[in-house]
């Protein structure tokens, strides 16, 4: 695919993620994907903007909500769908499912279903990067809720103390499952992170992938040049329910108005010319991946006890 400019490329990447997750929504009722899915629809711009300035060898750690980052970092569509289907050809041979997507070949270093638990792993990878002089920038992506866990505090402290090349990227969608941020946090994310001596940036336009990308590019460059860790907060909005494929603006914990406000800014919903230009190619890639997943074999009993220790 040829792109006229960066905007088009990022648009394509974001649309690709959205369409992939929409396909998951289509398939899900057939029970062929037997894995809890946490969708990033509405949040794609962060993944594509954050990953664009990164090199393949820059390690990135994610969470259970990682379809978007998996694809944006360069993970293969086939690997992902086969993994969701629990097939032997999945990126992790069917042992990971949706919540543990990973693609070490492109630096996607693992995603954990225990909130916040990959944050220190990223700090450790950054310690190794610094010690070994690899020039890597390490990225940890987590939600606003993750910052409530004690390990977040410990990780910020250690990273700053040793000036490690790590970027803390918070996808702030204002929710942890159904709980509002203000019911959970007494601190402002950026102010709090800043007290550890980390330069911080807050981007309110989490739908604006060019802006996301620019802020990230600047930050990554700083980090790569050895100036120590940084914290980036991207405000964003989750369109679907926390886990699963449904919408849940009717159950009371959030308003449809907020959804509509975000959707009003969502480029993927408004630039129908670009959508039309890209949709076919994207559909073909996804069709291929789904076919691949459906036709692939299940992992057999010989895999049950492989790779334990």
């Amino acid at each position: 695919m040829k792109f006229a400019n960066l905007h088009e490329r990022l648009f394509y990447e974001a649309l690709r993620i959205r369409r992939a997750e929409e396909r998951i929504i289509e398939i899900y009722p057939t029970d062929r994907i037997q894995s809890p899915v946490h969708l990033s629809i509405g949040q794609e711009a962060i993944a594509v903007g954050v990953c664009e300035p990164l090199r393949i060898e820059d390690p990135l750690f994610g969470s259970y909500r990682s379809h978007a980052f998996f694809l944006a970092k360069g993970g293969s569509m086939r690997d992902m769908f086969a993994e969701l289907y629990g097939k032997a050809t999945g990126g992790c041979g069917g042992k990971a499912g949706s919540m543990h997507l990973t693609a070490p070949e492109v630096g996607f270093m693992g995603s954990s279903a225990v909130v916040a638990s990959t944050i220190p792993n990223a700090v450790g990878a950054a310690l190794a990067a610094k010690r070994r002089g690899t020039g890597q920038v390490v990225v940890t992506v987590f939600g606003d809720g993750a910052t409530e866990e004690g390990v977040y505090h410990e990780s910020l402290n250690f990273a700053s103390l040793h000036r490690l090349p790590v970027l803390f990227v918070c996808e702030n969608n204002g929710l942890a499952v159904h709980s509002k941020l203000s019911d959970r946090q007494s601190y402002d994310l950026c102010q709090h992170a800043a007290t550890y001596g980390l330069p911080t940036q807050r981007c309110r336009e989490g739908w604006n992938f060019l802006l996301v990308r620019d802020e990230m590019a600047r930050a990554a460059e700083e980090v790569r040049s050895g100036s120590g860790p940084r914290f980036l907060e991207y405000q964003t909005y989750r369109y679907q329910e926390h886990v699963g494929i449904g919408c849940d603006h009717d159950v009371g914990y959030r308003s449809r108005a907020a959804l509509e406000e975000w959707q009003a800014n969502d480029p993927l919903l408004h630039d129908s010319a670009l959508v039309d230009a890209f949709d076919l190619a994207i559909r073909e890639e996804i069709d291929d991946a789904v076919r691949f997943a459906e036709e692939s074999p299940w992992p057999g009993p010989e895999h049950l006890l492989a790779d334990v220790a």
């Binding site: 042992k95 954990s112 225990v114 409530e148």
Partner: protein
Amino acid sequence: MGVAYKIDSDHAASRTYREALFRCMRGALANHPEAFLLGQGVDDHKGTFGSTIGLAEEFGADRVMDSPLAEESMTGIGIGAALNGLYPIQTHIRADFALLAMNQIVNMAAKYKYMFGGRFEVPMLIRMVIGRSWGQGAQHSQSLQSLFAHVPGLTVIMPATPDAILETYPWIIANHRGPVVSLEHRLLYDIAFRSDDVAAGNDPLTSRLLREGSDVTIVATSIMVLEAKRAAEHLAETAGIEAEVIDLHCVSHPNRAMILDSVTKTGRLIVADTSWKAYGVAAEISRLVCEHDPSVLRAPIATLGMAPAPCPTAKTLEDLYYPTLRSLADTAARVVTGRDDHGVALPEEASMADVYKRFKGPF
């Protein structure tokens, strides 16, 4: 004797595990002004898989408190609240997350009374849900009872039926002055059990004899209790094999006499647990028998548990990972006949597995 159950929510006297939990949670708040719930999402519309729905509205946000994502401090806060006159009921929607609170549970709650010479008590109930099925995977599927049961000072239970919950939770909340860890099984939540009204007289903190039999003793925990009862019924009907079924229930304080008497009678023992075998329930029950008198055993002990690996997500692997009604019935037939080619017809895998297969969340 014991608790009849049926996967049948239409039956008049049936109730689900979820309903029993809800009744206990509501009862705790209604009957004990000092009781409060603290956990992620206890106040939301899904209400901890339905066990707390509507309670925040009924009792207020300071009795039914949503918590930040902060397991270690939430447990520590529970302990402190207990020390100052409240009764905390905490929830971990996956037992796996309680690993973040191990310090408070093991170093603090379990020791607060003894370490200070009996000068404090920490009455509290910590509910942990064991996940299973639909690709829960390695970090949403652990069944950590033996980690807690290893530690003196903790009382660890695994209610296997709505009745076990109704007999146990209200009693604990009203009477027990120490920390209790309860492992609830996610797949039980949706199952309706037929039952008499709450069976009186069962000691809430010990094991339960659910079925008498002369050929083999099956000691089971949690959802494996259901499999054991089904396997026992199947074996009795199809092969005249009579299995005695014991619900271990209080894994930290098993009823030794009940287990040893049973094994002495049957001479054969199967332990069916929801976790890994090594250093688990099968090991502990083996110890009890061996310290008492291994000569009562007429055959090796057979054990069922999770495969010795983290839990894979792919359905094909998950199906191999867990013991089933079929593998339990097969094991029992082998142990009783002493032969692998025992000729006993095995049950349709379908029965309980159907329930599991129907499970699609909410997670």
